[in-house]
């Protein structure tokens, strides 16, 4: 028990005053006793001293009371019976003791009273603090704290609730909670819950985390999370709800879910294989494309090691890389290796491997992205093989071409030597028959012999033409500057000496620039053009031939125009090919190879050829050749 004689936190002047009062009170009582001495004598020596003790103890506390008591005992003892400190009679002793007991009792009572008062003060302060704390909690709580009676009336409504629901505390106290914040469709349920609690003292929703919809003062709704706890204030049950606006959390949840779904969709529908492998290399997750790629079903793959589907030759290398990653030495790697498809087929893949790590940086599992590069690999291999064999194949082809060329030369040689010999014999002997034995042959015989001569001549022309053509196609042509003017003049002069040419009117229109050509081939071309011009003359008019040139940007076009039978449009393309004859040899003589020689020859010299013609209106043939570079 605490001593109150010198209570802590009491100042010195205060102490002086209080204890001084005790001394003064006792002194006054003593003086009064002295004054009453004649009346009282030695009776009731302590009676007067009860007052200072009682007053001091009651007014200024137990400590001064005790001092007053001690002083009073001393003063009383002194007063009776004979103003001395000596006490001899038992009666006086008893009187002393009784007074001391009474004074003690008074002091003790005073002390009790002070103690009780202090206790009450402390309790009141504690209550005040608790209230302050409670209201601070209510005020500063982030959650809405709402207390209602078991009748659903609001008794507590904190600032968070004000803010979130939009109602001021003063406006809602005593109102029905249901009508304030519970959407109409849930109100009945709420009322039933309260009624049941009132009836049974049970509420299945109490103490649980609930997610419901709330109503704001503006009528809008929002998701809330709440927990309700019952409490008793006096005899009345109350309910306190902690509510929280979870709009943001809900939105985040939705976003998270959507994001997870998107990720899932990406995973499932990606056009690459995606897998997760555990620390032992076993498949934990695989996507659809990976299954398709490897031919295994998901259930066949899960739990299986990647090594099981890796080509035996690549296993060691792949395992080393994997182990390094799972030891944390290789965060990311990428390499190419072979898988074995379920069918046993080899599959080339490119794998990008990364590891997901724990907070200490140690791998937890691996993520792999796998591309099927079989087609690319095959193409690369094919290309390599192709490159390797290309040279050889070029050699082979070159050799084959040379062989063909040789054969063609041998063929040409045979044709020119051996095929022409019998022709000469046919023509020669038939001619001799006509010359020397004509009269014996008779008219028919002469005609037949002449037919042999003609046929042999035609066949020789044909052979000569084919030889020229094949030489044009197969041999290199030496190109040089050729004066077109003199070449044309020579060719026209030759033509005029032939029977057909003599009948024609041939006009040469200079100038003719020099061209770059092979002199012999160009001569042949010009001769062919001119002889065609007079050969295919119309039956009903004399042949008129005109020759001129037309300069182009880097070339010269030589034109030969006639007024002959012309060529229908549909035949104009084909007349330039070998063995294309439009007319029987009886109508127009020739081998049909002349135009083919013109075209091939012009092409081989870097030029071209063509015709503009209309049936029975004549033709205009042209050949184009590169211009000769200027002399000097």
């Amino acid at each position: 028990m605490r001593l109150l004689l010198i209570p802590p936190r009491q100042s010195l002047p205060d102490l002086t005053w209080r204890y001084g009062l005790a001394v003064v009170a006792v002194a006054l009582a003593f003086l009064l006793r002295l004054a009453l001495e004649p009346v009282l004598d030695d009776r009731a020596p302590f009676l007067l001293f009860v007052l200072p003790v009682l007053l001091t103890a009651a007014i200024v506390g137990a400590g001064p009371g005790l001092l007053a008591a001690l002083l009073s005992i001393a003063a009383g003892t002194f007063v009776a019976p004979d103003f001395s400190w000596t006490v001899t009679k038992p009666a006086d002793l008893a009187t002393n003791a009784l007074f001391a007991a009474n004074a003690g009792a008074i002091v003790w009572l005073a002390h009790r009273r002070a103690a009780m008062r202090a206790e009450r003060k402390r309790a009141e302060a504690a209550l005040r603090d608790s209230e302050a704390l409670k209201s601070a909690i209510l005020r500063s709580a982030l959650d809405c704290i709402v207390t209602i009676t078991d009748g659903g009336r609001v008794v507590e409504w904190n600032p968070a609730a004000e803010q979130i629901f939009g109602y001021a505390r003063a406006a809602v106290l005593g109102q029905s909670i249901a009508e304030l914040i519970i959407p109409p469709e849930y109100r009945e349920k709420h009322d039933q819950g309260l009624a049941r609690y009132r009836a049974t003292g049970e509420g299945p929703m109490l103490g649980k985390r609930l997610e419901v919809e709330g109503l704001r003062s503006d009528g809008s709704r929002f998701p809330i999370e709440l927990a309700i706890t019952p409490s008793h204030i006096g005899e009345k049950p109350h309910f306190t709800a902690h509510l929280r606006d979870i709009t943001e959390r809900k939105r985040a949840d939705v976003q998270l879910r959507e994001s997870a779904q998107r990720l899932r969709a990406t995973y499932d529908h990606a056009f690459v294989g995606i897998t997760e492998v555990d620390l032992h290399g076993r498949f934990v997750r695989v996507n659809e494309h990976f299954c398709t790629m490897t031919g295994y079903s998901r259930s066949e793959l899960l739990g299986r090691s990647f090594a099981a589907i890796t080509h035996p030759d690549d296993r060691v290398y792949a395992q080393e890389l994997f182990d390094e990653q799972m030891r944390g030495e290789r965060p990311v790697y990428s390499h190419q290796k072979r898988y074995l498809h379920k069918s046993g087929e080899v599959l080339w893949i490119e794998i990008q491997a990364s590891a997901v790590k724990d907070e200490n940086g140690m791998p937890l599992y691996g993520i792999r992205i796998i591309h099927d590069i079989t087609d690319r690999k095959r193409a690369e291999e094919a290309l390599q093989e192709l490159t390797a064999t290309l040279e050889q194949r070029v050699e082979e082809r070159t050799q084959a071409l040379e062989d063909v060329n040789q054969e063609l030369k041998a063929f040409s040689y045979t044709v020119s030597h051996d095929l022409r010999a019998p022709l000469r014999a046919m023509e020669g002997f038939a001619a001799i028959l006509l010359d020397e034995f004509g009269d014996k042959l008779g008219e028919d015989g002469q005609r037949y012999a002449q037919r042999i001569v003609d046929a042999a001549t035609r066949m020789d022309d044909l052979i000569q033409g084919l030889l020229v053509y094949s030489r044009l196609a197969s041999s290199d042509l030496h190109l040089q500057r050729v004066e077109l003017a003199s070449l044309v003049e020579t060719a026209v002069a030759e033509l005029r000496e032939s029977p057909e040419g003599a009948a024609a009117m041939i006009t040469i229109q200079p100038p003719f620039p020099a061209v770059r050509a092979n002199r012999i081939v160009l001569g042949q071309i010009v001769t062919n053009l001119l002889s065609n011009a007079v050969k295919f003359a119309s039956k009903d008019r004399a042949p008129v031939v005109r020759v001129w040139s037309e300069p182009q940007r880097a070339s010269v076009r030589l034109w030969v125009e006639d007024n002959g039978i012309g060529i229908a449009l549909e035949h104009q393309a084909e007349i330039f090919s070998v063995s294309q004859r439009l007319h029987g040899p009886d109508a127009y003589p020739g081998t049909g190879i002349g135009l083919a020689i013109i075209r091939k020859g012009a092409e081989r010299m870097g030029g071209g050829s063509g015709v503009i013609s209309e049936l029975s209106q004549g033709s205009r043939f042209w050949v184009e050749l590169p211009k000769a570079e200027d002399k000097g």
């Binding site: 051996d418 022409r420 000469r424 001549t457």
Partner: protein, 145 residues
């Protein structure tokens, strides 16, 4: 000096031989036409001609008409042999053949043929050719003795 009285035809094709003989007849070439049918015969004949006769003369041909495509020894071999033989070096050799192929023409001139002619198809053209040949090589052309 004895005039060169003969011409040598080296030709394996009997048809061509007859046709050329016919042309010679037609043109009335004064020279005797000797005919051999392959390269070996040609060389043997010419080798014989290089020997001196009783009068100490060589009866070299006025001209050799040489086909190229011949049995045993080709016309080129014969030509090469002639040009390598000091006694025959200057004898005019006219190649008379079916082929007008550039390669053959070039090679013939490289081996020092005096002329290169392609046998014409027409008989009258052959007669013209023989006439020209005999006129030029036998009558006009001068040779060292």
């Amino acid at each position: 000096m004895k005039s060169r009285v003969s011409m040598l035809l080296v030709e394996d094709n009997p048809d061509d031989v007859d046709l050329i003989k016919h042309a010679f007849r037609k043109v009335q070439v004064p020279h005797q036409l000797e005919v051999v049918n392959d390269g070996e015969q040609a060389i043997a004949y010419l080798a014989g001609q290089t020997a001196l006769d009783n009068e100490g003369q060589r009866s070299l041909p006025a001209m050799v008409l040489l086909d190229l495509k011949l049995p045993r020894q080709s016309g080129f071999a014969v030509l090469q042999w002639i040009r390598a033989n000091p006694g025959l070096r200057h004898v005019p050799v006219v190649v008379l053949t079916s082929s007008g192929q550039d390669e053959d023409v070039r090679r013939a001139y490289e081996l020092c043929a005096n002329s290169y002619l392609v046998k014409p198809i027409r008989c009258d053209a052959l007669i013209d050719m023989v006439r020209t040949l005999s006129r030029y090589w036998a009558d006009l052309n001068l040779l060292p003795t």
